[in-house]
């Protein structure tokens, strides 16, 4: 696929939002408490809204969502990770929404093609970040079981967090500055939650790259199979 720089960026950000929204949608009917059903769905709907705007700037939203092969998706590996237990979902939310908040705040302040979208999305994402932070505190600094599970989740997902700060064509942002801010912010939340900041590497060792290069993890293929199956079974149909 040959794409212009803004299109590459729109796909990267759009796929992040689409895939994470899908993962959060999998919680429907399974959340730990009814109030959280409503909260997770709100976040998923915000992300899906962002995905639709972003993908529509790059082409037809449904063609892009339903007819691309796995290798053509440009989302971060972080967002495609399975929900796991609630702690994994919250750790994923904390890492991603902190990044997305910094990114959209910077895009909203600029004059690039994403300024308009980012201005609206940054408010949504601020709430997602707050939701993740509140839960990180309650799981990390609540019971012993909660602490153990939250620590395990934060550590398990740590190695997917470096990818967020690799350059993306068409995204003119201060990545180094964002990464420092991200580390400061996440470390502060983990400290308050009495959790240990993970120490391992923040990127994979594979030189083929990661999600932004269309290299994904095994669970992603199954996720796409489920998501795309019905649409692909009826070529050309409208819904």
């Amino acid at each position: 696929m040959t794409t212009t720089a803004p299109t590459t960026a729109a796909l990267a950000l759009g796929d992040d939002a689409l895939v994470l929204s899908h993962r959060l949608g999998e919680w429907a009917g399974h959340a730990p408490v009814l109030e959280e059903e409503v909260a997770l769905a709100n976040i998923a709907l915000d992300l899906l809204g962002q995905a639709r705007v972003l993908l529509s700037t790059a082409g037809d939203e449904d063609e892009l969502a339903y007819l691309r092969e796995e290798r053509a998706f440009r989302n971060l590996q972080l967002v495609e990770q399975p929900n796991g237990d609630f702690a994994h979902t919250i750790a994923r939310q904390l890492y991603f929404s902190t990044y997305q908040h910094l990114l959209y705040a910077e895009l909203a302040a600029g004059e690039g093609p994403f300024a308009g979208l980012a201005a609206k999305a940054v408010k949504e994402v601020a709430y997602h970040r707050d939701h993740a932070e509140q839960w990180t505190l309650r799981l990390g600094d609540g019971t012993e079981v909660g602490h153990k599970k939250m620590q395990r989740a934060c550590t398990a997902l740590w190695r997917f967090t470096g990818e967020m700060f690799q350059p993306v064509d068409g995204l003119d942002v201060d990545l180094a500055g964002m990464e420092t801010a991200w580390l400061d912010s996440v470390r502060a939340v983990l400290h308050r939650a009495t959790l240990t900041v993970p120490e391992g590497p923040r990127t994979g060792a594979w030189t083929a790259g990661a999600g932004r290069q269309g290299v994904h993890t095994e669970p992603f293929g199954r996720m796409l199979a489920e998501m795309q199956h019905l649409h692909r079974s009826h070529p050309g149909a409208s819904w």
Binding site: V33, E35, V38, A39, N42, D130, Q134, R138
Partner: protein, 95 residues
């Protein structure tokens, strides 16, 4: 009550600036901060509000139905508190 039984909160929503907060309903939350967030997600997801209060249900003191008569009936026979009690000649304006 088990330790997973989160307390009940009453939710009051200001639907737009200039109006007072109105009781919207209740919900469960482990603490006040979460009660606010849950209230936001549950009671304003269609843009119903610009401000929210949450109050622990247990903190509300209510009048008792047993006292309904002594509480409220004495107010019912004082028509002179209402403007319609007074007769004003026709043609008098701005009253």
């Amino acid at each position: 009550m088990t330790n997973t039984d989160w307390p009940l909160w009453e939710v009051f929503v200001r639907s737009r600036r200039g109006l007072s907060h109105t009781h919207a309903g209740s919900l469960h939350a482990p603490d006040a901060e979460f009660a606010l967030r849950n209230a936001r997600d549950l009671y304003t997801r269609r843009g119903e509000g610009v401000s929210i209060w949450v109050v622990p249900s247990s903190a509300i003191t209510a009048s008792s139905p047993d006292e309904k008569d002594p509480f409220f009936e004495p107010a019912a026979d004082k028509p002179y508190r209402h403007p319609t009690f007074y007769e004003i000649p026709e043609g008098v304006k701005h009253l």
